[in-house]
Amino acid sequence: MLDQQLVNALSLGCVYALFALGFTLIFGVLGVINLAHGAVFMTGAYAAMTVMARFELPLWAGLLFAFAFCGLLGLLIDFLVLRPLRARNAPHLIPMIATIGVAIVLNSAAQGLFGAENQRFPEGAISNDTLQWAGVRITVLELGIILFSFVLMAVLMLALKRTQLGRALRAMAESPKAAYLLGINVEGLFYLTSFAAAALGGVAGVLIGLYSNAMSPLMGQPMLHKGIAVVILGGMGDIRGAMFGGLFLGFAEVLSINYLGSTMRDAVTFGLLFLVLLVRPKGLFGTLQERKV
């Protein structure tokens, strides 16, 4: 049983990490706790479902559409809401509250357009096959999520560490003003980050939407709460931290269910979270310095 549980934990951890990657990216670069990320995640799932059902498209096309659609949505949110707040140097609480408003708008729009009933992706969107190896079972989708989240983390980390773009982003995370003086196109990079984070959120929405295949307009809210837990555990704004924080949460949940009983799951999760904050406020794997306000 334990081997199956470890596989369960790995796939659950990667589900959390996948969501948290976009969430943490925005915080790391823009310094905004984006409470609309759950709603963007939901938008991605619904957008992909709609085009896949209407035009009978395969999953890869749905993913691509969700990526583009949510990316543009992220850009729009940045342009209309976050940019004016940056321009007047609002303390970072203010954009957070603005994103609550954005989340309300997106959630109620989805409910208006699609109704509150649970929806699913068209049949056959993904293979239902279960791979079996030494008594341990894993679905194609789980395998896909695990691979994708690790690849995504690696790509993001490489992009941030090795490329010119990444160096510029890191400079901005330290101090947007200094970065600007260094001749970095700060605004452009903020847009890029908003695009990328939302696009990743959209893709996460499709994959996790497929995972339970019972989507609703409010599906992003519980995920957002988990996402917050993940980035605290891993260290806010840290890409590697989001990955490990997700895995940590996945393993903590599965193991507490296995050994302590499922009623204890959330108590263990939040107890751990509280403990981590007290002992290591920067997160278990956090390296990034806290932004000066």
């Binding site: 049983m1 019972a214 949940e253 009623t263």
Partner: protein, 386 residues
């Protein structure tokens, strides 16, 4: 009025608020519907509203009630405590409805029903299943069958049919509907002396249930007793089959929905549900209801819609015996006195009320008295087990 307006905006507002209610067209009976149309319970609220609107259009098309048309005043209570109280007060004192259907969730009913009771206005729940709702007072009615009546029968039939010796229990512990379902399952299992291998929980909005299901599989249960709503229940069944847990499921009220065949496609077989209403129950009343509902809304009805639909028909029977004098207080009291005697056969089968008692044992409101039908899923239909 005009002078009021000039004197004070507040007073004018108060006056319009007070008078607008009285302006009901002659020959209509205003009936309030408080449902959760937005927020977390919106999907049930939507089905409930559809059920009421279908019943109202049928009654009105058939000549109304002694010539009076039913006018539904639908209000969104958002399944929020404060809002549900505000909505009830508006319906009772401003819109002056003769009675209120709702609210959607049991916890909301605990906040709103005392308001209706104090105002001596009938409140009629169609989806509140928790204990103690009808203990609030003698103006509180419901036709939602509490699971205490249904589950023993469901388990008994499932045990007989599938040779079950021991079960695992799985339920949502942060939702009143699924938690009260669990309490009743627990009691029924104790009464039947059925061994329980393990009891597991999940939370609303979870997407992964494999850790609990793996544990249930290892516990060697012959069946899983599941108190869940369809949003979590469907993925639970799919994921159970994925990890090779192929035992039957015994579901509560929340699982009694044809939505399961869509959301859990390919993994929906072998789910037992018990309820007075079944999508496969081919009585003339139910067939007519399902046909009319599907034609009007383009999707199949669920239990929430069926209970709402029946509820308005039940109330209509009582309203026939209420003299419309224009004195809303007297009309409300007359309705209260006429309602307990109604017997009606609708989509959910034969129905009558049963007196409920409060904690002190004194007679209070009225619960539903109905016979459950147990069915099992097989190839995208509910098959009724006789």
């Amino acid at each position: 009025m005009r002078q009021n307006f000039l004197k004070s905006a507040l007073l004018a507002f108060a006056a319009t608020a007070a008078f607008s209610g009285a302006a009901a067209a002659a020959g209509t009976i205003k009936v309030g519907v408080a449902a959760a149309l937005t927020g977390g319970a919106a999907q049930y609220g939507a089905a409930i509203r559809n059920g009421f609107e279908l019943a109202a259009s049928e009654i009105n098309a058939g000549g109304g009630i002694n010539g009076n048309k039913i006018e539904l005043v639908v209000a969104d209570e958002q399944s929020k405590k404060e809002e549900v109280i505000n909505v009830f007060k508006r319906l009772i004192f401003q819109d002056k409805v003769i009675m209120i259907f709702g609210p959607t969730l049991s916890n909301s009913a605990q906040a709103s029903n005392p308001v209706a009771q104090a105002a001596k206005t009938v409140v009629f729940g169609t989806s509140n299943t928790a204990d103690g709702i009808t203990a609030i007072g003698d103006y509180v009615f419901r036709n939602s069958v509490t699971e205490a009546d249904v589950l023993p029968e469901t388990i008994r039939v499932a045990v007989k049919n599938s040779g079950i010796k021991k079960v695992a229990v799985f339920y949502g512990n942060d939702d009143v509907f699924t938690k009260s379902g669990y309490d009743n399952f627990k009691k029924a299992l104790e009464d039947l002396k059925m061994p329980v291998t393990t009891t597991e929980t999940f939370a609303k909005g979870d997407v992964d249930f494999k850790a609990q299901l793996t544990k249930i599989k290892a516990s060697g249960a012959d069946a899983v007793v599941l108190s869940a709503l369809i949003a979590e229940g469907a993925p639970i069944m799919v994921q159970a089959r994925q990890i090779g847990l192929n035992v039957p499921f015994i579901g509560g009220n929340g699982m009694n929905s044809v939505k399961i065949f869509d959301l859990a496609k390919g993994a929906s077989d072998n789910l037992y549900v018990g309820s007075p209403w079944s999508a496969s129950n081919a009585t003339p009343e139910n067939t007519k209801f399902i046909k009319a509902y599907t034609a009007k809304y383009g999707n199949a009805p669920d239990q929430f819609a069926a209970q709402a639909y029946d509820a308005l028909h039940i109330a209509a029977q009582a309203l026939k015996n209420v003299k419309m004098t224009g004195d809303i207080g007297a009309e409300r009291a007359a309705l209260r006195n006429a309602l307990p005697d109604v017997k009606w056969t609708g989509a959910t089968g034969a129905f009558q009320f049963r007196r409920a008692h409060d904690k002190a044992g004194k007679p209070a409101g009225f619960d539903a008295q109905q016979t459950p039908i147990v069915s099992v899923t097989k190839g995208s239909v509910f098959v009724i087990i006789k």
